[in-house]
């Protein structure tokens, strides 16, 4: 099965419904669409924004490699990954991963796999801006994110 893979790195917001429509329109073989949307949290009101820095060029390439790996492992029909950069307020979208497949298990697993690897391999870094006016710390990488990779045998 040859999957259509689409990766975009952009400042602007994305439209989940439009991405689902692009993956499914005019075809009768898609039985399952899974989307993951990651949003900026306010950390109990402490944060005014997250600033996302990325490595242009490598960010696209690395996420595409992750999506290709998912397409080799599961019979998915398509995958879209969009990652935003710049300063994002709480409640704003950060990342979208959408996968399509004839059946649900492949769509679910491929989407979770892409997110797990994207988290630890895509060259993005988050800096906190605090509501009290200070520029806070760079967000630390989480052990839980490395642990999440182990279930995929990585």
């Amino acid at each position: 099965m040859s999957a259509r893979i689409d990766v975009r790195i952009q400042r602007e917001d994305f439209d989940v419904a439009a991405e689902i429509a692009a993956l499914t329109k005019g075809r009768g073989d898609v039985g399952a669409v899974v989307t993951f949307t990651g949003l900026c949290r306010d950390e109990s009101g402490a944060l005014s924004a997250l600033e996302l820095e990325h490595y242009p060029g490598m960010a696209e390439e690395e996420i595409a490699r992750v999506a290709q790996a998912a397409a080799q492992r599961w019979p998915i029909l398509g995958a879209v990954a969009i990652h935003r950069f710049g300063k994002l307020a709480p409640g704003e979208n950060i990342v979208l991963v959408a996968t399509t497949s004839p059946h649900r298990a492949a769509a679910f697993e491929a989407a979770a796999f892409i997110m797990d690897f994207l988290k630890t391999r895509a060259p993005f870094w988050k800096k906190e801006h605090r509501r009290d006016g200070g520029v806070g710390d760079w967000v630390d990488a989480k052990e839980a994110d490395d642990a999440a990779l182990r279930r995929w045998g990585a």
């Binding site: 990325h54 490595y55 490598m58 690395e62 988290k119 391999r121 060259p123 870094w125 988050k126 990488a141």
Partner: protein, 86 residues
């Protein structure tokens, strides 16, 4: 070795105080770990950025590599902290 573009991101960039620079790597600096050691000797800002060398991630021509990776004929070498996207 030819001129190589170095790129820095996140707090590595902030500590070094620049986003990128072009350098000529000495002959005896052959892998990523040796390059980190050599850069650390170039000034306080580099020593600070690389003080916990183990936590620093590197990419050669936009591909993740470990510290024992030979520099080979890479044109672009990047250093950055562990990623926190998604």
């Amino acid at each position: 070795m030819a001129a190589v573009k170095l790129s820095y991101f996140a707090w590595v960039r902030e500590r070094i105080g620049k986003t990128e620079e072009t350098i000529v790597v000495p002959e005896d600096v052959r892998d990523v770990g040796q390059l980190i050691d050599w850069l650390s000797g170039r000034g306080e800002e580099y020593a600070y950025a690389f003080e916990n060398a183990k936590t620093i991630r590197a990419a050669l021509d936009r591909k993740h590599v470990k510290h024992d990776a030979p520099l080979g004929d890479a044109r672009e070498i990047a250093f950055f902290p562990p990623m926190t996207g998604g």
